[in-house]
């Protein structure tokens, strides 16, 4: 009995306490305000003052993708480090600001990427340069809801370049389809008869490449796809597929593969089978030092890949004055003293340059105005762009860089080619 009444007393306290709390809380957040963006048009967005602008990055800095991830921070940090040392970046509204970068590690974990975004969104002006499809996707919708720009991110996922679906986003690197299509077109334009074997990864990566390639050769009657096989990203060997493809006698293999050891093993297996087709490799598995040389790529009539930027690992890169300056800036401002083995350092540097273009056209310190400025860059040749590639942000559905150049392995690195053969 006694117990019962006590319980009721406790419940009463709880109820009372809750009621008081609820009334108190009614005004708790309203005063602080500013959950979203519609505060007032001319007021500056978060992360920008008259002297500084802060950019946020969430990218893998530890774990399996730490190598390229670190590069995505290093490149842009080097670019703006040098710009800040020169006095800052001039904005379209006449003010000169220094650019600060806050980078957080997400370990390629979507949940952590979202958490990093939540932490950064009120203190940074825009999110940029982060690497990874799942990690960028994880906060894409939140960025739209909070009206935070998430721009020039490193993912080949087309959704980031679709303005309908992603009004506050823009991808930087070409989508997989762009790469496949460029090679397909080159083959179609060669004028010679080609039999093509396709070996692709059984996921959206491989499918994207193949889709682009088939589009590129669409309508060309000199190119015939004789066999199309897939493998799983978890497979440890593709010997069976290669044996089957070799039997077709194809003179070109389109190898949409993202696994480094498998790409090396494929090159070697084909040689063992005495099959020497021209070889296509995607941009991220075509490293001369890490893949083509160990695989004995020189034995083939040609190993092709696509690119839009110069490779910092190429032998003559460090000799050019720009290349030398780039490597020095990396070491000085981004604490990255080695010659980067990943292309992402150069890409991220180009992101910095592209952002500077957008800043130059910003007339108001707001995120809306920034997005407008960013979407108006046409035919900009960023540092280290290959001839034929440009930054073009005006076309809906395409990332900032969508034109790629086909390159051929020349024994040491790659050089651009106009025709096949």
């Amino acid at each position: 009995m006694n117990m019962r009444s006590r319980t009721r007393g406790v419940l009463g306290i709880v109820a009372l306490g809750s009621a008081v709390a609820l009334t108190l809380a009614g005004c708790a957040r309203g005063g602080g305000g500013g959950d979203g963006g519609d505060g007032g048009e001319a007021a500056a967005s978060p992360g920008i003052t008259d002297e500084t602008i802060t950019l946020g990055i969430t990218t893998p800095l530890s774990g399996a993708t730490a190598g390229p991830g670190t590069c995505t921070v290093a490149g842009i940090t080097a670019y703006f480090g040098a710009a800040n040392a020169d006095g800052g970046v001039e904005f379209g509204d006449g003010k000169t600001r220094t650019v600060e970068i806050t980078a957080l590690d997400d370990q390629y974990d979507p949940q952590k990427a979202k958490s990093n975004f939540d932490q950064l969104k009120d203190s940074v002006f825009a999110m940029t340069a982060g690497l990874g499809t799942p990690t960028n996707r994880a906060y894409r919708e939140a960025a739209i809801a909070d009206e935070v720009p998430q721009v020039l991110v490193m993912t080949g996922d087309p959704i980031f370049s679709d303005q309908q679906e992603s009004p506050w986003q823009l991808g930087f690197v070409p989508i997989y389809q762009n790469e496949g299509e460029a090679f397909g077109k080159l083959l179609a334009e060669s004028g010679q008869e080609h039999k093509v074997a396709i070996l692709s990864q059984n996921d959206d990566y491989g499918e994207g490449y193949v889709e682009g390639f088939l589009e590129g050769i669409d309508g060309a009657d000199n190119v015939e796809v004789v066999k199309q096989l897939t493998y799983e990203a978890t497979d440890t060997s593709v010997d069976a597929q290669l044996t089957e493809l070799a039997a077709t006698g194809a003179d070109v293999i389109f190898n949409a593969m993202s696994i480094t050891p498998l790409a090396i093993a494929s090159l070697q297996k084909a040689q063992q089978l005495n099959w020497f087709p021209s070889w296509f490799l995607p941009s991220n598995t075509s490293s001369p030092g890490a893949i083509v040389e160990p695989g004995g790529g020189a034995a083939f009539p040609g190993v092709y890949t696509v690119a839009f930027a110069q490779s910092a690992a190429a032998p003559n890169f460090g000799e050019s004055p720009e290349g030398k300056a780039f490597l020095e800036e990396l070491a000085e401002y981004a604490d990255y003293p080695e010659v980067p083995a990943f292309p992402h350092c150069v890409w991220s540097y180009q992101v910095g340059a592209t952002l500077e273009q957008a800043f130059g056209q910003m007339t108001e310190p707001t995120r809306e105005n920034f997005m407008e400025a960013l979407r108006s860059i046409d035919d900009y040749v960023a540092p280290f762009m290959l001839e034929g590639s440009t930054v073009n942000t005006t076309e809906d559905g395409l990332p900032a860089v969508s034109t790629v150049v086909v390159q051929k392995f020349n024994g040491k690195g790659y050089s651009s080619v106009e025709d096949f053969g």
């Binding site: 319980t7 670190t70 370990q107 958490s115 799942p134």
Partner: protein
Amino acid sequence: MAAVTGLWERTWVRWVVAALVVVLLVVLPLILPELANQRLARIGVFAVAVLGLNVVMGYTGQVSLGQIFFVGVGAYATAWAVREEWNIVLVFLLSILVPGILGLVIALAAARLGGLAIAMVTIALPIIGVPLAKRLSDVTGGSQGLSARFSDAPEWSGLYDDQWQLYLVILIGGIVFLLTRNLVHGKYGRAFAIVKANEAVASSMGISPYRYKVLAFTVAAVIGGVSGFLYMVVVQYTSPETMSFGHSITLLASMVIGGAASIIGSLIGGAYYVLVPEITNAIDPSLTALLQGALLLLVLFLLPGGIVSLPRVIRRALHRSRRDAGPQGPTASSPTRPAQGRPAAEGTTHTERQGQA
């Protein structure tokens, strides 16, 4: 200290404390800033996941390295059902049913094995899970993952999204914690403890280790599913990386650091899982993995029983210093083996419990 313990024994004190906690949980989301709410919600998500792991590992003693798989399955089930526009209650049921059934089927096979063999089987789960999620792209969205924004605050509530989400986590997570607490403190909990301590003894008392292992594993999978549902409430996105093997190990580390076989320890484990990456990021974003490893070792060296054992360690240290300072001086045996004092005491309670069972 004794006064505090004495006070705690009284029922009304417990009620008042419980009421205070409830009031705090109701009030806090309303007054905390957005980021704190999101952080708390995330802690809730992973506290539930750690709790599930605790049921099978902490309480029943079966090493499971596959907990993240069930979290991932729960998240995918939620995302899929939301996309199919199911009623939210059905979504929730699906998110616990699918992992539960999977857990049951796997446990039926795995629990036949003893000791580390179970660990080997459970390692396979996240390793299979990631490529499977990529492969079944019609259901899972492939490596691009699935978004599901279903947990925005409804108009009538007048709340911000983060407040609404935190309330959902507190409500659902709170129920799961209460139910689990009752489970492990009741008849099943005693059976789990005996299976953990000695399977032969369990069998001799008519407790089938196999049945209870299967039960614990299934319960862990169901709780993992709840955690997956809450993951979608808070993160609103899932991809194959959600269930990558590394996260399973981090969950395990969180459980050990929080405190194995402890309800409060699960909460601390969740906090560890969420806060440590943030803290290490604040120190130096390029050294996060290293710092996390160092922290893990530090806690394991200083507090082998997990953070939850901290009050006990402090109490013992106080005791010792008081006794050292006392007039009669230390007795010969007790200060030299303080670490063994507690487990021994727990051992006797086990035997008492066994007697009751």
